[in-house]
């Protein structure tokens, strides 16, 4: 199993193809462009369909169609493009179709810029489009995970008949690191008896999100919520380092977790008891474990490249038992380990309220 030096966007694409991807529909936007370019180059030669849609709106509806037809399908974009896809994502979640949606987040709001950010957290984990629905949201922390979580994403999407979002960012997409792909080429696909692939010898299938009779619609919603509860019970993933004795636990995902890790190492060198908690699933959020870690005399510090979005979920989990602080940068600026360490010092010296 040889190591390959790859960009995050390329590793993710390769993993998707290896996971049995049958179709990719996208539209150009920076900083995710390596994904469609990789797909255009490789997917048609390896049994899949690549098509550049005329818009993100169109691309996500192509995904709806292919997912409904029962094949593994994905799309990728960056923040403004993901906003355009929200209508389609809501329909996909309602129709319970499995697919993978990649967001290589750039800074917003509006057209914003092309530099890395995490300002799409709320959009990703709280639904994003209209109605009561959830995406399973996976947050890779390195190039290897860009690949591994994509593979996992397809499996979870099929298992739960739910759209999965890979919430990446401009750094994880553009950076190169070694990546290893498992040589076992087995694709773990499931039966999709609900797919609209031709009603030969069976009752016809309908892929639909219209629910016009209220009491029936409510029952369907309750079934959906029950599914979400099961996902919460079974699919929570996270990583922690040095949390046992920590006075301050840094909480961060994706690139922020990388910065937090460096900050933790600097802090430990100074003898400061700092730990790191990295959510890998952002929905379901590892709230139970965070609640267990909360205790008097311990603080949490959310490290984010947004105005402070994930921090709200940390606060909900910690439920007032420990104080929760924020260290963040905005606008495509990336926090430095030194910034985070300074905030840690402020907390330990009681300089923050």
């Amino acid at each position: 199993m040889a190591k390959i030096l790859m960009k995050g966007n390329e590793a993710l694409s390769e993993a998707a193809i290896r996971a049995g991807l049958k179709a990719f529909y996208g539209y150009p936007i920076t900083p995710q462009n390596e994904v469609p370019a990789y797909m255009a180059e490789h997917l048609p030669l390896r049994g899949g369909v690549y098509l550049q849609a005329e818009s993100e709106v169109s691309a996500i509806n192509m995904v709806y169609g292919a997912a409904g037809a029962g094949v593994r399908v994905m799309t990728s974009s960056s923040s403004p493009g993901i906003s355009l896809k929200q209508e389609g994502i809501s329909y996909i979640a309602a129709a319970q179709l499995p697919c993978v949606i990649v967001n290589v987040v750039r800074n917003g709001p509006g057209l914003g810029g092309i530099q890395p950010a995490q300002g799409d957290y709320f959009q990703a984990v709280k639904g994003g489009g209209h109605g009561d629905y959830r995406l399973i949201v996976l947050a890779p922390g390195n190039v290897q995970e860009m690949a591994d979580l994509t593979t996992l994403g397809f499996d979870l999407a099929d298992k739960w008949r739910n759209p999965v979002m890979i919430l990446s960012d401009g750094i994880l997409g553009q950076m190169m690191e070694p990546v290893v792909f498992s040589e076992d080429g087995a694709v773990s696909e499931v039966d999709k008896p609900w797919a609209t692939n031709g009603a030969a010898g069976r009752e016809r299938n309908i892929v639909n999100s219209l629910d016009i009779i209220p009491d029936k619609a409510e029952k369907n919603m309750l079934r959906l919520l029950e599914k979400y509860d099961q996902i919460k019970a079974e699919e929570v993933r996270w990583q922690e380092h040095n949390t046992e004795d920590a006075d301050v636990i840094l909480v961060g995902y994706g690139t922020s977790a990388r910065v937090a890790r460096s900050a933790m190492e600097l802090a430990r060198k100074e003898g400061l008891k700092v730990g790191l908690f990295r959510p890998i699933t952002l929905w379901p959020f590892p709230e139970q474990r965070l609640a267990e870690l909360a205790k008097a005399g311990r603080s949490f510090l959310a490290v984010e490249m947004s105005a402070g979005q994930m921090i709200e979920d940390v606060r909900l989990a910690v439920n007032g038992v420990s104080p929760v602080h924020l260290s963040n940068r905005l606008g495509g600026m990336v926090p430095t380990p030194e910034d985070v360490l300074e905030k840690v010092r402020e907390i330990l010296e009681g300089r923050v309220s």
């Binding site: 539209y27 150009p28 936007i29 920076t30 462009n33 469609p36 370019a37 255009a40 180059e41 048609p44 690549y50 098509l51 550049q52 005329e54 818009s55 993100e56 709106v57 403004p80 057209l111």
Partner: protein, 250 residues
Amino acid sequence: MKTVFQKPEALTDMPMHYCPGCTHGIIHRLVGEAIDSLAIREQTIGVASVGCSVFAYDYFNCDMQQAAHGRAPAVATGIKRVLPESMVFTYQGDGDLASIGMAEIVHAAARGENITVVFVNNAIYGMTSGQMAPTSLLGQKTATSPRGRTVEEMGYPIKMCELLATLEGPAYLARVSTHDSRHVLQAGKAIKKAFEIQQQKKGFAMVEVLSTCSVNWGMTPVKALGWLEENMIPYYPLGVYRDVTAKEGN
């Protein structure tokens, strides 16, 4: 000696970010010259789009709005309907106008919206680094058509002037080129005309300007001019596709 050529007033002093030899700069200047020669700078509102020309608001020395990808004709409609005496133009590339913004341009044209559209067709996505555009030629290799555009996979390149000419709404539709100085001078005349049409309240006017993208075409700026002439013009014939003033014997 007398100065016979200098930067138009309707352009700012900001150096343009375009790659060396990119004809966007020429087209910006032509728009600026048209605005100067009609003396309309103070009543003009430009709408910048998304793509390489996303920073157009830095370069045009008039009021500018920045629109979401493809939506510039809708934004321009919004402005023009509430400020009918203003001069409103959009500046859009091929991805913006002919792909994601196809609905907006078609409906603005169908309504005969009294705006001027400068449509820059360089047969590729520049800003996002060289993906296939709706106007990429058959056989053209791009980042997302690495083996060349085929009819089977991606269908045919879209001829916007011809397409919009099927509608009753447009008052002026013309296709021009930037591949040599003679054609640039002609392009300048067409752009000026498209503003005059708006000034006379005759309705929707669009000038499609064939343009180069040497970086993403993978050639020198000078070679790119030749490539445009030899490959784009045969598929995208130059000329006037609609001119209501001609009917009036103007």
